[in-house]
């Protein structure tokens, strides 16, 4: 096996392992992007096309044609067998298994064709109405504002209080530090899903149910965040802090002028994680928020799910819209994430 397992890379022409690597990467692009691309395309399909089998890549709609003598446009079919085989016809009506059609050039003569012997003529068309409907139907910007407010404020609070705690836990030697660390690591593993009911009751007792703060505050002290930042801060040399102390900096000033800037990569990682969690969070906001004016995009998106029916066309369009901001943020923070994970996860 191959230089492929090492990081040595020749300067010569492409080795066959390079081809293999590129093949793997291209497969990766297909596999990683493909499904999402399909999601985006599907969001431009009509509800009817969404239900179509076999599923087709592009959004099709049936061709409709205005035929003289008929007030509404008629659906166009192609006849596959019989005397009219190969011709495009417009269907006037269908009775049972027989279809009554007319040739566009002879709109008066009705011909009977078995429904087996005709195929709809279709063309690609984007159902942009899926999107237009969203803005018409409800106050999209209210939900967008709520989601953004929750995400931004929660991320700022998360970064602030978790970095403060991580600073204390990494740079001070005090009684009880071990206990606090153990508690935090212990709960690192308990998924919030299993404590929904007690958490709901506590948040209620704080009077935060049905407020954006009820969504923001409970998740702000993430054990993962403290852990991540602490690991990173441990690598900052204590001498720098001592130097700052000699420079007459207060401990708070050391925290925000020295520790915070130096932890920027780790903070960027936590920021993107937090933004992701908050933006995509569904279960907890669903419980904590009740009024529609407080709803987040994820909640609004899911309100297309009824008891029996799901409005897929709207739901997909909304999904794509909620995806856009997070992808933009990611594109912006991308390079920080790479270096950030490099220096936090590895140690």
């Amino acid at each position: 096996m191959t230089p492929f397992l090492t990081r040595t890379r020749g300067r010569q022409r492409l080795h066959w392992t390079d081809w293999l690597a590129y093949a793997y990467l291209c497969l990766g692009v297909l596999l990683m992007f493909g499904p999402v691309l399909w999601l985006v395309i599907s969001s431009f399909k009509t509800e009817r096309e969404l239900q179509h089998y076999p599923p087709r890549l592009l959004p099709y709609v049936q061709k409709m044609e205005k035929v003289p003598g008929y007030s509404d446009p008629l659906p166009v079919f192609k006849v596959t067998a019989g005397p009219l085989a190969g011709q495009e016809v417009a269907q006037v009506r269908r009775i049972g298994i027989v279809s009554q059609v007319v040739r566009p050039d002879a709109p008066q003569t009705i011909v009977k064709v078995p429904i087996k012997d005709r195929k709809p003529v279709e063309h690609v068309a984007l159902a942009t109405s899926n999107y237009a409907k969203l803005f018409k139907r409800f106050n999209f910007f209210q939900f967008f504002y709520n989601s953004t407010f929750i995400t931004v404020v929660a991320t700022i609070i998360t970064l602030l209080i978790n970095s403060m705690a991580a600073f204390a836990l990494s740079k001070y030697d005090f009684r009880g530090r071990g206990t606090v660390m153990a508690l935090i690591i212990g709960t690192l593993m308990i998924p919030p899903t299993v404590v929904l009911v007690p958490l709901f009751l506590i948040v209620r007792d704080f009077g935060m149910i049905d407020t954006l703060w009820g969504v923001i505050i409970p998740g702000a002290a993430t054990p993962t965040g403290v852990f991540l930042l602490r690991q990173y801060m441990l690598t900052i040399p204590d001498e720098i802090l001592d130097a700052a102390r000699m420079d007459k900096a207060s401990e708070w000033k050391i925290y925000w002028r020295i520790i915070l800037p130096l932890s920027a990569p780790a903070l960027a990682v936590l920021a993107i994680l937090s933004i992701m969690w908050r933006w995509n969070d569904f279960l907890w906001p669903l419980i904590a928020l009740q009024r529609q004016e407080h709803f987040t995009l994820q909640l609004a998106l899911n309100s297309f799910r009824g008891e029996f029916n799901t409005d897929w066309a709207s739901l997909l369009a909304m999904t794509v819209l909620t995806l856009v901001p997070i992808v933009a943020v990611f594109a912006f923070l991308q390079k920080y994430i790479a270096t950030g994970i490099a220096s936090t996860g590895g140690k």
């Binding site: 040399p237 001498e239 720098i240 001592d242 102390r245 000699m246």
Partner: protein
């Protein structure tokens, strides 16, 4: 500008005592070097003076005022760290002005002092660079500059040159000495390198195992070391020590030779176990004397060093001016110069030199 006084200063981590009572007075304007092997507590002592490390017992006085209870910021000191501890995310200028900003100095004054310090240390060209874009020597200058701009009462240096290569170290040594002469401030300098201590210090404090072994001028320490530790630590190459006993005004070495001693210079007790110390340049290859089997020869051109063992197994270093013809493997005899000899009690390791002599 102030003097520094330590009175019975101790430091303990739980049961472990690291500093075991140090008394010391560094006069105003003096350049004092703390020297000792690693783990002797010299850096801890410096950090206690700085206020970064709490003091377990005793008093630290700066300018006559007890500062035990004061934090590092309030003592009016500045410190240069072994790793420089520059703020990596700030430019040189920001590094230099950070402390002044904390003191809420006016902006114009900050700029003035930063420029002055930068010019003095020849780093004015790099003011807008970040530490990672500087060479080791430049970083060192920035670290010193950061202390200089503060105009502290006392400068503290914690092994500042240990990360530099030999050539730069010599250069910076001179630089720091010049700086001291120029601003004539009290400076405390920690190093494990006795050459630095000898070349730079007004006063040297030799520390071992949390205790002050000797405190004095460099040449005093060289010429009249209080004990075998100081004698061995100061001076390069190291002093040779020979075990022996006092036999009628002379020392009979375990290696077999008898060395007569100048009368009245030492406190002698007949039959006492003593250690004779002679520096490498206190011995000459001669026709008779202490037999030495030469193991290796270092020829430096202008001078030579012979390394070998005495008959009792004692390792011996001999300095020989000029070039020598002696080859490794030969046996020679060494003439010992008794006037250059130091005598210590083997039991207490203390010097037997008469104080009144």
């Amino acid at each position: 500008m102030s003097d520094l006084e330590l009175r019975g200063v101790t430091k303990a981590y739980g049961a472990a005592q690291v500093i075991k009572g140090v008394d010391l007075h560094v006069a105003q304007g003096e350049f004092c070097v703390f020297v000792g092997p690693s783990g002797c507590g010299k850096s801890t002592l410096l950090r206690m003076i700085s206020g970064l490390e709490p003091i377990s017992g005793g008093e630290v006085r700066i300018g006559g005022e007890v500062v035990n209870h004061l934090g590092p910021a309030e003592r009016g000191l500045a410190m240069v760290f072994q790793s420089y501890a520059l703020y990596p995310h700030m430019t040189v200028r920001q590094n230099l002005s950070f402390g002044l900003e904390n003191l809420r100095a006016p902006k114009s004054e900050i700029a003035e002092r930063v420029t002055a310090a930068a010019q003095m240390l020849q780093i004015d060209k790099f003011l807008d660079r970040r530490p990672k874009d500087l060479s080791g020597g430049q970083r060192q200058r920035v670290a010193i500059g950061r202390a200089v701009v503060r105009e502290p009462r006392i400068f503290l240096f914690d092994e500042p040159l240990s990360n530099l290569d030999a050539e730069l170290r010599v250069e910076m040594r001179g630089e720091i000495s010049r700086l001291h002469r120029r601003i004539n401030n009290t400076m405390i300098y920690v190093t494990h390198d006795q050459v630095e201590a000898m070349t730079m210090a007004d006063k040297i404090a030799v520390l071992r195992d949390g205790r002050l072994e000797q405190f004095g001028r460099p040449l005093d320490l060289y010429n009249t070391p209080d004990n075998t530790f100081v004698a061995g630590f100061i001076g390069s190459p190291r002093m040779n020590f020979f075990k022996g006993h006092v036999r009628g005004g002379a020392v009979t070495l375990d290696a077999g030779t008898t060395v007569p001693l100048p009368a009245g210079k030492f406190q002698l007790a007949e039959g006492a176990a003593v250690t004779l110390g002679i520096r490498p340049n206190g011995m000459k290859p001669g026709n008779a004397g202490l037999p030495l089997t030469v193991a290796s020869v270092e020829r430096l051109g202008g001078e030579s060093y012979l390394y070998g063992t005495a008959p009792d197994g004692t390792a011996v270093t001999v300095h020989s001016p000029g070039q020598t013809r002696i080859e490794p493997g030969t046996q020679i005899a060494l003439a010992l110069d008794a006037d250059d000899a130091h005598l210590f009690s083997t039991d207490t390791t203390r010097s037997l030199l008469r104080k009144d002599a």
